[in-house]
């Protein structure tokens, strides 16, 4: 998605203004003019200036405010975006409940099925191997605390 420089510039300038405002209350070091707010203020001011320059350039070029320029169609991009965002949201929300192994198996099966477009059993099989590999590498070898979730009750009951 490509935006006119005026649109991106407005976003940059707004962020710069937010930086300047949020830095205004940061105290200086004792007996100094400088402190924790110095650098954020400089960054915010420069963002404001650069954003302003981009707005001027965008207005002068008179291009479309927003247009789709990627090689893949918008619908396919939205599918990919939904897959990435959905996987992250599912991981954060559901891993503490159902655990990493079940979640990874379910999510990877769905993604393989959606993107590889093969039979469900094949997707399930590859997802099971991939889940085992990630669990083995991170959970067992590197001792990352990947939660077992409901499997904990099954294994340790």
């Amino acid at each position: 998605m490509r935006t006119n420089d005026a649109v991106s510039g407005a976003m940059v300038a707004a962020l710069g203004a937010a930086f300047v405002v949020a830095s205004a209350d940061l105290p200086s070091l004792p007996r100094q003019e400088y402190g924790a707010g110095t650098f954020p203020t400089v960054i915010g001011t420069l963002l404001l200036v650069f954003g302003g320059l981009m707005i001027l350039r965008g207005v002068r070029h008179r291009e479309a405010w927003v247009k789709w320029t990627a090689s893949a169609p918008l619908t396919r991009f939205l599918g990919a975006l939904a897959a990435v965002v959905g996987t992250v949201v599912a991981y954060v929300m559901l891993t503490p409940i159902i655990g990493f192994p079940l979640l990874s198996l379910a999510v990877l099966t769905a993604l393989f099925y959606a993107f590889h477009r093969r039979h469900l059993p094949l997707s399930l099989g590859i997802a099971a191997i991939a889940t085992l590999a990630i669990w083995g590498l991170f959970g067992q070898l590197l001792h990352v605390p990947l939660e077992l979730g409901i499997l904990e009750q099954v294994i340790y009951s």
Binding site: M1, R2, T3, S8, V12, L15, F19, L26, P27, L29, Q32, E33, Y34, G35, A36, T38, F39, P40, I43, L46, L47, F50, G51, L53, M54, R57, R60, H61, A70, A72, P73, R76, A80, L81, A83, V84, V85, T87, V88, Y91, V92, T95, F100, S104, V107, L111, F112, F115, H116, R117, R118, A130, I134, L137, F138, L142, H143, V144, P145, L146
Partner: protein, 500 residues
């Protein structure tokens, strides 16, 4: 001599050698698949290196990146699709050589010249880095402030494209680095009451988001069952390679030296090195008209340059703690998490470790030859891996990798947010290099500025009191002038190219 023997005893262990081979194979896999870059390979490797000692961690990253750059040449020669941006400049040349029945020669030259370029780069690194480090021992916070600022400014200058957007990208990175507790005053900034943000935004989720999630968003929408593999056999591997490399020995040496020098510039990585080396090679060639028609001269020089640039980037990273490219930015982050702050003191206090790192570099580059050959032999199988399987796997790997930094779900959100930001920035031609360098250099610039200002009791002129600081300040000033001039001229060019 004792130092070297001690360094050798650190390197030649089962653990380090095993990691070098495993990381090389990982880099080979990542580089050979078009769309997966050497930086992405590094970002995915970092969660694993967190659990290693410093030397094996560096060995893993160095081996993976060197191999990824070489493996990136393979799809370029076979499919005209460069595996990594560093191979893009000569992908056409190698592909056309393949069409003339010289595929083995093209790939053999790629691997051999990459190895030679890499070794030249390591030699220059090993020769000059300790001497520059000796000199840098005189540096105070004034010089470090200017040096970091100069590094950041160079990153905008050489990132290519629009300097204004490069500047915005840098400022966004600096903004990200300001979140959390200020290291000098202890003041909490921009945390919005979140406990997770108190220690700042971790580097690893930012890296994974910027270089893996961004790329996934771009690539997943065109994920296919299989790559369109129509690959000729790489017969006669290495026949004629030695004689051709010898014929263009000047180009190999020039590529190696030029690549190392370009790699040492902050922000200029292997891709810029190979473009410039190819252009210089064409300029100096007796037969420039043959370039672009399957001629090995430019390929030889650019192959040598891109691997040499990887070593060159370690000069500012190891000597000053200023990253030369995104990969060294990651390595600095990894070393810092292990309590080692790269800089001239490391050369004085941990000479054995530094020598061991140089040995690992040579080892990784020598391994390019046998493993590169293996990669070429197995290229057809590698390229046949369906991206519809690969991308979801990488996504899950990214999520678990981001989580493993602090065992915190918050880092996964950070990864996603930065990935979405990175996608927007890339689609709108904002370079990502200045952003990541600014995330690393932001705290260095700020803390050195504050230290100097406290020392001088608020006197800004103290920043240019010392001669080295003055020289660095003038260099920074010149760089900004160049950036502004570049911005003005590119703006004029753009206006002239837009039809009225």
């Amino acid at each position: 001599m004792t130092d070297l023997l001690q360094a050798a005893s650190m390197v030649f262990t089962f653990e380090v050698l095993g990691i070098v081979v495993a990381a090389s194979l990982f880099g080979l896999f990542m580089g050979a698949i078009p769309g997966l870059t050497a930086t992405m390979a590094t970002a995915l490797l970092v969660p694993i290196t967190f659990f290693m000692e410093p030397l094996p961690a560096i060995a893993a990253i160095v081996s993976a990146t060197a191999m990824a750059i070489v493996a990136g040449d393979i799809p370029g020669a076979l499919l005209r699709m460069p595996g990594t941006p560093a191979s893009a400049v000569y992908a056409d040349e190698a592909f056309l050589m393949g069409k003339q029945g010289k595929l083995g020669l093209a790939l053999g030259l790629n691997v051999t010249c990459s190895m030679l370029g890499g070794v030249i780069g390591v030699m220059i690194l090993a020769l000059f880095a300790p001497r520059i480090a000796d000199f840098a021992l005189q540096f105070t916070s004034d010089e470090y402030f200017w040096l970091a600022l100069l590094g950041l400014s160079c990153a905008i200058l050489v990132s290519g494209g629009d300097p204004l957007k490069g500047g915005v990208s840098m400022l966004l990175g600096l903004g990200i680095s300001m979140v959390g507790m200020d290291s000098v005053s202890g003041q909490v900034r921009f945390t919005f009451g979140s406990y997770d943000l108190l220690a700042g935004i971790s580097l690893l989720p930012v890296l994974i988001g910027l270089f893996a999630i961004t790329e996934l968003l771009r690539s997943m929408s065109s994920a296919e069952k299989r790559q369109p593999v129509v690959t000729p056999e790489a017969n006669g591997m290495f026949s004629g390679v030695a004689s051709t490399a010898w014929r263009y020995k000047g180009g190999v040496a020039r590529g190696g030296i030029l690549g190392t020098m370009i790699g040492a510039l902050p922000g200029a990585g292997a891709d810029i090195a190979s473009w410039i080396s190819y252009a210089v090679s064409r300029k100096l060639s007796r037969t420039p008209e043959k370039f672009g028609s399957g001629h090995p001269e430019g390929l030889v020089s650019a192959s040598s340059a891109n691997n040499a640039a990887l070593s060159g980037a370690y000069i500012p990273a190891l000597v000053f703690g200023i990253p030369g490219d995104t990969v060294t930015a990651i390595i600095i982050g990894v070393l810092m998490t292990k309590g080692i702050t790269p800089g001239p003191d490391v050369f004085a206090e941990q000479g054995t470790l530094v020598n061991a790192i140089f040995m690992v570099f040579i080892l990784a580059n020598l391994l390019l030859l046998p493993l590169g050959l293996l990669a070429i032999k197995g290229a057809r199988r590698l390229l046949a891996i369906p991206t519809g399987i690969l991308y979801p796997l990488i996504l899950m790997f990214c999520i678990v990798g981001a989580f493993s930094t602090n065992n915190s779900m918050f880092d996964i959100w950070v990864m996603l947010a930065i990935g979405l930001l990175g996608y927007f920035l890339m689609e709108n031609d904002f370079p990502l290099g200045p952003l990541i360098l600014a995330v690393i250099l932001g705290p260095i610039i700020e803390s050195n500025f504050m230290r100097s200002i406290l020392k001088s009791n608020g006197d800004l002129m103290a920043f240019v009191d010392r001669p080295i600081a003055m020289v660095l300040a003038v260099c920074a000033l010149l760089t900004w002038t160049l950036i502004i001039a570049n911005g003005v001229f590119s703006g004029r060019r753009r206006r002239m190219s837009v039809p009225s």
